[in-house]
Symmetry: D2
Subunit: 386 residues, 4 copies
């Protein structure tokens, strides 16, 4: 059992890290929302703070005064139980509250939380706190990917940092890990923190399969492009093919062909594509088509979890063939927190592992990330199976 | 092994039945396409015929002369390997070829097939023939549901037939069938015909579950409506809730509230809703929300298949919680026929069983039907699990 | 003053002519609506009939029984005073009432009108009758252009007729008619029939101008295409340029470039473009850009009317630079008939003259036709001014 | 003839005033673009500066070094002759260049212009300079209306200023000014500056008319609302009625009904509607419907200009019934500056006068402002005629 002290440290360290991510930004970068899936950094800062105010301070701190009554409206996201949400597409139109005011809000709530935690050891409070901390860590990853989208779609292509490492090269040759048919146990199985969608440890039956020890590289993906991968409809789902046509997709996100050479915008600015690096910023549709091209397939999330000890993961969210569905006996929590995961369990694909944007203490081999099949702005990657 | 004679009979009987379905139509009814998912009856007549011309006569009958070179363009659907398809949304704009011409086309191809089959016992031909027959049977079901949509959305609400039976009441009380945890075998396991998506007989591990012996009735569904089911966002997926809001959904398709009493358009015309009949024309989103309301869930397709001998099915396509995905070791067939199923295996839900619109010799307990989560025009229904 | 007898003849001859236009159609051609601006021929047949039922028989024939109560809903167009209209985009989804039924409706109403007119000489009745006849004549022109659109966008490109003459060549060379500065009188000035938008005879001041004695030919228009007319944004309005880009416009409607030679679908089928024929099926945006290219302009409707006795018109509706606006002292009629013209007097351009599709006794030099700036399916043409 | 010195003062005073308008803004307010018609203040600052760099410094100052090559791309608007424009809807996604950088750009260009003007008295330069100054003044007005939109659509409803005066009440009773039939001269007729669309002084013939001495007040407009003005389709153009339905319009922009009392967001914050103030923020569609309701009409721009000396104008841009069309003999200037006005002369309405947001030395009685028929965010108003 983790002590309150440890939780307080964990809380404060998380709060600080969020602000550290935003250090390199200009005030203007905090405000814009170039596409609906990307939120303004200002909103992430406020929203993660609002979570603690709404679900902890309002309930457990009787002396707490709300910082600003309007913020509940502005910084709510999909928690429809709590109040009328700001329509997501409108977030980028809000110039107020100012960035300065949002940082004051953060400071105010962090202080109130600190005082509360020093005097309250209620175990249900700690349970919500732990969710709140991991909620903020999720948004830390989104902050990085959203900042990348904001800067990477600006015609001036400003860099975010000189030191952020977007990948490490996996040395050695590709080989296949063989897994044997049988019943495997899947799902969270410790007393450590996890999200509700990982619960319901259960058995699945897997047939013989093989899974790659390495992620697909840029060199392999360029081969797919050069072989006409984006022009062969037989490699794609019908919905994927429509998506390719309508959006005229011809490469991963952030790729630019300049005088015949593929370039890539990373958080360090524009540079030539590193052929040995793992391919990234591809949608599920592209991951599937690539696998078809290689006459392989994507692993299911169960195959991934059963084999994960035998390969390195953590650079890229790995698309799986699994649809995002509840585990047997999954039980949606009542109330606003219950809206967290269950309501998204339709028409999305599971991604496993974690990425270089995932904060520390947030990755787990049972973690179930999920996105629609056409999204590319996360640090996604491909691991083949057959 | 089925003899060629038997196949010829099966073929001719199928061809005749398609035309029998269209008997009650006015010529005008053959032409329109009120929504993108509904095809004009004329198109179904031509498309099923084109299949035999394209995949059999052109390959196996060296003396065959194509009826009209343009028809390949007009009656192709999603077989992108074969030629440039007519964009689906445009089908309802085509007044030509005329209905009379399409019937001549049917006659011409049926005769050519008859001659060919009398002299050719090639086994690969018979394999394609069998697919062609079942393909036409699939379109027989779509013909009925599309005709219902065309007539049921006409302000004059014309009836299709006096005798078509849309349901039979399931007598007796609702009870739960208990199934025991363990490994079950799933998928097609005989030498009879099946589609490729049923193949790859394999093991799945199921945990203890219960499944209802009856379909949900209209009375139960009206209770859900009256309890505010369409207004409680906590019962819905986020995507389902958006769909309800945007389309202002308040009831199953074809329901009209007249002076406080729910009426329903069936193929026999408009009448009061029969409270004991199984509810139908609901989307997956609605089936899911209803199950949430009852504090139950929908069965997976594996749970359904494992238990199906213990309940009656066949009136309604039953929505399952399973996403439409390939079975382990599923192998897409090469070429145009390979486009048949695999390319739809994303963002759709499996429906099991069959409906009152399904033709004879076409239903199987391993059959995997599939539709997007928002479609309502098929004869869908709900069987609960927990 | 025209006698009732003459009116009856005029009425009957108009009713017959409408049906004569539809003679070459297959039943299927009556039903479809490929774009929102085109109505199904069946609808035109019913709608022109409904006009007489609604505005004459219901008011003046006390013994009249409505043919079918639902038809008022189905065949109403924009007369919002009278009842809830069928949304225009839905017309092509209506397979019922059948074509046969619509012809019965025509017959029924024509007979009732005939009986009424034989016994009633009420002058307000005759005024409405005259509007109804000219209303039907307007729809005769739309019938022809809509039929052309339906057949001309069918992949089989069926012809409508062997004898319909789409143009006559204007012989002689192009020259400029000079008009002198001064006050001119504009608007209807006889006791003959006209629409309300032509009334309010009034003075306008025109400055010196010149207007062409001939319409622009296909040869001249091809020169514009070859000179990159569709690629030079400086020739276009900003809105016109957006329209060209979004719709990828590269030629008049119904033009197909086959092996480097421009072909044209006319009501007689597909053939090579006749270089000496007047260009047709161009939008206002294109007419304007062409005029810019020639360093000329389009005439205003006042310039056109003042000069019209000095050139031949009647083959093509001629786009003018004038916006469709009320004449001074224009007074909207009260009630449903008042909706006829006034409500369209915004964001449309005036076309003057008439076309080869305009029925007899329907053209006048004061006639004000009007369409939005992007429509091409009418028999439009270009006369330059400077 | 104005001296260069005077021009330099005029230039510097204009540059300063633009920045004064932005004084009350937070940095975040400079960045957002809530709707396509509103531009981010940052963009206005850069765009007006770019005009001087592009059309003056690059041509007349051989020693000039461009501030940043990318800015031409970022701050261009519709001048397609000059370079590839940033798609207008994307402006609000650009966090960079930063506001600080844009002010440096302004400073840099203003200084370069100052040096140039001190040594260059070229008369074509001065002509372009005068256009550039008036161009910046136009954007000053847009800055104010766009700032109002940004703040007035923020859920916190922040005020812009305590002192900005949005209206003065017109005392005295409403009466009609009678104007006599005859030929009037219209268009610019002095050596002072004007835009090209005002040129071509010409004669028009006007019939007897009356025009109001006062603008329509909020009290009168509320009467229209209460009389069901937004629910009576007979008062509206067909296109206006569709617009009302689709956008659910029920009042002027910035109006909120709170507990039965109409409130209004002005640049001074939210307050009750002042009944005697002139109504504002209404579209042409609404102005027309209001006039219909009063059994009056809107004046044409010619009627307005002929009568304008007899009433006070300058508070509100007054919608006229006139479409925005070229005057006789209007000649589009060649090159990029020629794109300025002519390309918008379709499907827009002329507004006459000026508004409380119009800067000094920018209003003229011959000024022709123009907007599409559905726009409301300018300080528009209604003057009736009959
Ligand atoms: Fe969140
Ligand atoms: Fe098919
Ligand atoms: Fe009509
Ligand atoms: Fe500008």
């Amino acid at each position: 059992m983790v002590s309150t002290d440890t939780f307080l440290d964990f809380f404060l360290e998380t709060r600080e890290h969020t602000e550290a991510i935003c250090k390199p930004l200009e005030i203007e970068d905090y405000v814009v929302q170039p596409i609906i899936d990307v939120s303004p950094p200002k909103w992430h800062l406020g929203h993660t703070t609002w979570f603690f105010e709404e679900f902890i301070l309002k309930s457990y701190d009787t002396s707490y005064t709300v910082f600003d009554e309007d913020f509940s409206f502005v910084f709510n996201s999909y928690y429809e139980t709590v109040g009328k949400r700001v329509v997501r597409a409108d977030r980028g139109n809000l110039s107020r509250p100012s960035v300065k005011k949002v940082y004051e809000y953060r400071q105010y709530v962090t202080q109130a939380m600190k005082s509360l935690l020093e005097s309250n050891e209620d175990s249900t409070l700690l349970a919500v706190l732990e969710i709140g901390i991991h909620h903020e860590k999720q948004h830390q990853e989104l902050l990085l990917t959203d900042i990348k989208y904001i800067l990477g779609n600006n015609p001036l292509l400003p860099k975010y940092s000189d030191t952020f490492l977007e990948f490490t090269i996996e040395k050695g040759t590709q080989s296949w890990i063989s897994m044997t048919e049988g019943v495997y146990e899947i799902g969270h199985n410790s007393t450590d923190f996890c999200f509700d969608n990982e619960l319901g440890r259960h058995k699945v039956y897997l047939h013989d399969y093989q899974i790659s020890n390495k992620l697909v590289t840029n060199a392999e993906y360029i081969e797919f492009i050069q072989a006409g991968g984006y022009k062969r409809f037989d490699l794609w789902h019908a919905a994927g093919w429509d998506w390719v046509q309508q959006n005229q997709i011809t490469s991963p996100l952030y790729w630019y062909e300049i005088d015949g050479v593929w370039h890539y915008y990373s958080l360090n600015g524009l540079a030539e594509v590193d052929l040995d690096a793992p391919v990234t910023h591809i949608s599920y549709f592209e991951a599937f088509a690539f696998a078809q091209y290689k006459e392989c397939r994507l692993p299911t999330e169960f195959e991934w979890e059963a084999a994960q000890e035998q390969f390195n993961w953590g650079q890229r969210w790995e698309w799986t063939e699994s649809a995002y569905l509840p585990y047997p006996n999954y039980k949606k929590v009542d109330g606003a927190l219950g809206e967290y995961n269950g309501k998204f369990m339709v028409n999305q694909k599971v991604l496993r592992g974690s990425s270089i944007a995932t904060p520390t203490k947030h990755a787990r081999h049972t973690y179930r990330n999920f996105f629609p099949t056409d999204l590319k702005w996360q640090f996604t990657g491909i691991r083949l199976a057959k």
